[in-house]
């Protein structure tokens, strides 16, 4: 963006405006990241001032730790199973909400209510669901009274149930946001495309596949990648729902919970914990940026390059 001659000599002022961000990012963003990488090659523990560099020994330890692989699998599993219904529901609801044929009323109200769980404190939501599904909690009361369960059940002793619970809470907290974003994407598609498709005799299914989905691609990629990055860092819900160690049987021990367990272990092994952080960081970044590069419409990317 250029403002013509009068602005040329003012352009160095740009540095002044971005300076605070750059300085604070270097001190509170980049350096801690570098420090984490540095620590991941050391045997630093919380209680001791001395440490030594141990090369890639920590990485060997972590990769050979069955708990780590389990934590990684859990994270991926929980994320995938919460994301699929999120995006599915978002596509379906957005089609309904934007349909000119249906002309649904109260769309704004529904969206507002669907988004509500997202802005509530995850710690409180986790504690809430822990109480709702407690042995003496309302879920048991209702299910026993309705005859669905013969007797009250220890929900959080069951691995599959507990995993499903985390998946459900993650879905519950995020589907509203996904609906809003997908719907905004659909609304921004020009009506002309549909009009000319209609003239060509296309039915609504064809229009959805041939116009809506391709045009939604950038928005879908954005949703996928941001959800993935957030999902890989999932901590509050699985940490607070049970004992903070992924009980029962480590079924909801996510990668970040595992990292915290290393950090809070009796010795406070922050070298190893950093290694876990580095592994999550590298894998997530590579996957997220990879998906972003590959899936984003190449034409769009080229157009963007030209524009800026």
């Amino acid at each position: 963006m250029s403002f013509g001659k009068s602005s040329i000599n003012k352009n160095s002022s740009g540095y002044f405006f971005v300076m605070p961000f750059v300085l604070i990012f270097l001190t509170f963003g980049l350096w801690p990241l570098i420090n984490t990488f540095r620590l991941s090659f050391t045997d630093t523990i919380l209680m001791s001032r001395t440490f030594k560099y141990v090369g890639i020994k920590n990485f060997f330890i972590i990769f050979n730790d069955p708990s780590f692989l389990k934590a990684f699998k859990n994270t991926a599993y929980i994320w995938v199973l919460n994301f699929i219904p999120q995006i599915g529901l978002a596509l379906l609801f957005s089609v309904w909400f934007t349909s000119k044929r249906l002309k649904l009323k109260g769309v704004g109200m529904f969206r507002t209510l669907f988004y509500l769980p997202n802005i509530l404190m995850p710690a409180a939501i986790a504690a809430l669901f822990a109480s709702l599904f407690d042995f003496y909690g309302p879920a048991n009361q209702i299910l026993v009274r309705l005859g669905v369960l013969p007797e009250a059940m220890m929900f959080f002793r069951n691995s599959s149930f507990t995993q499903i619970m985390v998946i459900y809470i993650q879905w519950f907290m995020w589907f509203g946001q996904t609906i809003i974003i997908i719907m905004a994407g659909m609304t921004s598609i020009s009506g002309d495309f549909y009009a000319s498709a209609m003239i060509d005799g296309a039915n609504s299914g064809q229009m959805f596949r041939k116009i809506t989905l391709p045009m939604l691609r950038p928005v879908m990629v954005y949703t996928l990648v941001t959800s993935l990055v957030g999902g890989m860092q999932m901590f509050d819900i699985p940490f607070m729902l049970t004992d903070g160690r992924g009980a029962p049987n480590g079924s909801i021990m996510t990668a970040n919970v595992f990292m915290y367990m290393k950090y809070s272990s009796s010795k406070g092994h922050i070298g190893l914990a950093s290694t876990v952080g580095v592994i999550i960081f590298v894998i997530t970044s590579v996957v997220a940026l990879g998906i972003f590069k590959i899936l984003r419409d190449p034409d769009e990317a080229a157009a963007k390059k030209k524009r800026s």
Partner: protein
């Protein structure tokens, strides 16, 4: 005619589905609020959707077992307000610098910020912790407030927003009037950007209010606890049998956000899509 009936049947089914999903969203939150007014024996004996009259008793129990919820509320407010002010002001300033000036490294910084949005910075928490401990900033709110000024996501949103509202002629005119570059930003840009900054501020506030992980790692002194940390403590032994008090604690921690949301829902919902969709 038949077409219309079909549409009506379809609409009825859709409304039923939408109402079911709405109930799914609201019931847990409603139960939480209602249970905070019920006694523990009542909660244990059955579900109710109607508030009861045990709120004050629950509050007495909640505040009598060593947890100071008002202090945690105050701490959370303090951190959330200052990190929001910091975050929004400097993010808009950064975005403004990137949009209005062409300087060396501008493109790099711009792309770098976009990449930062897609990178899980939270995983560097251990290095952050160790560094803060060296600086003697554990149990201080500085590491919870200052880094907000370098939030890539906020800058990203601010960039999209400024795209729509920067008026070149206005900046030109202010320059001709002899306004300094910083003066233009302060006196011309900020007032125009105020509505968008307000939306960013709501998101900043909510994010900071709900943040559990960072304070949980950095803060260990009880009197410095934030609300999410207090919620975690509530699940401990001292309150194990006091369900009414636990629900009240949870209700108090989400209540301010419920109020904010009921007032500003519109700008919040429209703000979400701001980063994802270029209009």
């Amino acid at each position: 005619m038949k077409y219309k009936t079909n549409t009506n049947i379809q609409k009825t089914i859709i409304y039923i589905i939408l109402i079911i999903i709405t109930i799914i969203c609201i019931i847990p939150i409603w139960l939480l609020l209602v249970n905070s007014t019920r006694s523990t024996p009542a909660i244990q004996s059955g579900v109710s959707l109607i508030p009861s009259n045990n709120l004050i008793v629950n509050y007495k129990i909640l505040s009598s077992r060593g947890l100071n919820i008002w202090r945690a509320v105050g701490n959370s407010f303090y951190i959330s307000i200052f990190s929001t002010l910091f975050g929004v002001y400097f993010s808009v300033m950064t975005a403004y610098g990137l949009k209005v000036y062409t300087f060396k490294g501008r493109k790099f910084l711009n792309n770098f910020i976009l990449i930062l949005v897609l990178v899980p910075m939270q995983t560097s928490i251990i290095g952050f912790y160790q560094y803060m401990s060296k600086l003697h900033l554990l149990n201080s709110y500085i590491p919870l407030i200052i880094p907000a000024a370098a939030s890539a996501a906020t800058v990203f949103f601010a960039l999209q927003y400024l795209d729509a509202i920067i008026i070149k002629d206005l900046i030109h005119a202010a320059r001709i009037d002899g306004c300094s570059e910083f003066g233009i930003f302060q006196k011309v840009m900020l007032p125009i950007a105020a509505p968008g900054m307000f939306t960013l501020a709501i998101f900043g506030f909510v994010g900071s209010w709900n943040n559990f992980f960072t304070p949980f790692i950095l803060i260990s002194k009880m009197e410095k606890y934030t609300l999410p940390m207090l919620v975690q403590t509530l699940r401990g032994d001292a309150y194990k049998t006091e369900l009414g008090a636990i629900y009240l604690g949870l209700a108090m921690s989400i209540f301010p956000i419920l109020v904010v949301y009921s007032i500003f829902a519109k700008s919040i919902v429209s703000g979400i899509a701001m980063g994802a969709v270029k209009e």
